[in-house]
Symmetry: C2
Subunit: 158 residues, 2 copies
């Protein structure tokens, strides 16, 4: 799976609308104007372990990470953006296999825009379903919590 050095994010097409990929207020205050991070810096920044970062790369969920002249990983801000987005996908409940599929589509270039959109829309539907499910459970939980609150331990009134 040789990857032509295609940029990771959707900022692929020249003057297309810039996609900063889940930026906005940065999660952790990303260290200064740096652009080369060791694996442990990235681990701290993302909350993932170094193990998991290596594993992500092995399974194709990372877009070819730079290496130092001795072979150690050097992550860039672009990688951090990607990981932030992957973190969001993970929160949706998307499987790792599907996230890898998405990453492959990104590597394949602009012509996969439509398929990527479909994947995200399907994920979006799943999220809405899940939210509805959770709200359904809230109703039951509230019902039972109220029951327990109304009938405290070893109730006297038979």
């Amino acid at each position: 799976m040789e990857s032509t050095p295609v940029p990771v994010l959707e900022t692929t097409s020249p003057a297309a609308p810039v996609d900063v990929c889940a930026s906005g207020p940065r999660p952790h205050p990303r260290p200064e104007g740096q652009d080369r991070y060791t694996i442990s810096e990235v681990a701290e920044y993302t909350g993932l372990t170094a193990h998991t970062l290596r594993w992500y790369e092995r399974i194709g969920l990372m877009p070819h990470v730079d290496r130092s002249h001795t072979g150690q990983r050097r992550f860039t801000n672009r990688d951090l953006d990607w990981l932030t987005f992957v973190g969001k996908l993970r929160l949706t409940g998307m499987s790792v296999a599907d996230m890898v599929r998405y990453a492959e589509l990104v590597r394949e270039g602009d012509h996969t825009f439509e398929e990527r959109r479909q994947l995200l829309e399907s994920t979006r539907r799943d999220v809405l379903t899940r939210i509805a499910e959770l709200q359904g459970t809230l109703a039951v939980l509230d019902y039972k919590i109220e029951f327990y609150a109304g009938a405290p331990a070893a109730p006297e009134r038979s």
Copy 2:
């Protein structure tokens, strides 16, 4: 773990408010006025496999299921109510270990009301957190879906 035959649901204390445990409109139209179901009937009703039902019992997530004179399981409507509730707990994302803990509390009797309430309230908080997370991912998904929609595959306008 010998369980004194304490009823499963919270309807334990004599004239306490009746807790029908997530009833309301029954999920599947529970077969007639029956009160003894085989494992495969319950599997169909709940959507769980027979394997899973046996496993639930083995790990202490079921409250001692009746047996026929030859040792086959005979589930009651009460068991079905319990499984419906367990299904809700599962949807909250509660771990099986915590569900077993809850089942133990139920078996222990009314004096565990307070602990049960706390467990459910902690679960409730988790659910609210999860809903917020999911809504956060919705924002990102919508942002990217719109990006892909606005820049269709192989865009011409460079």
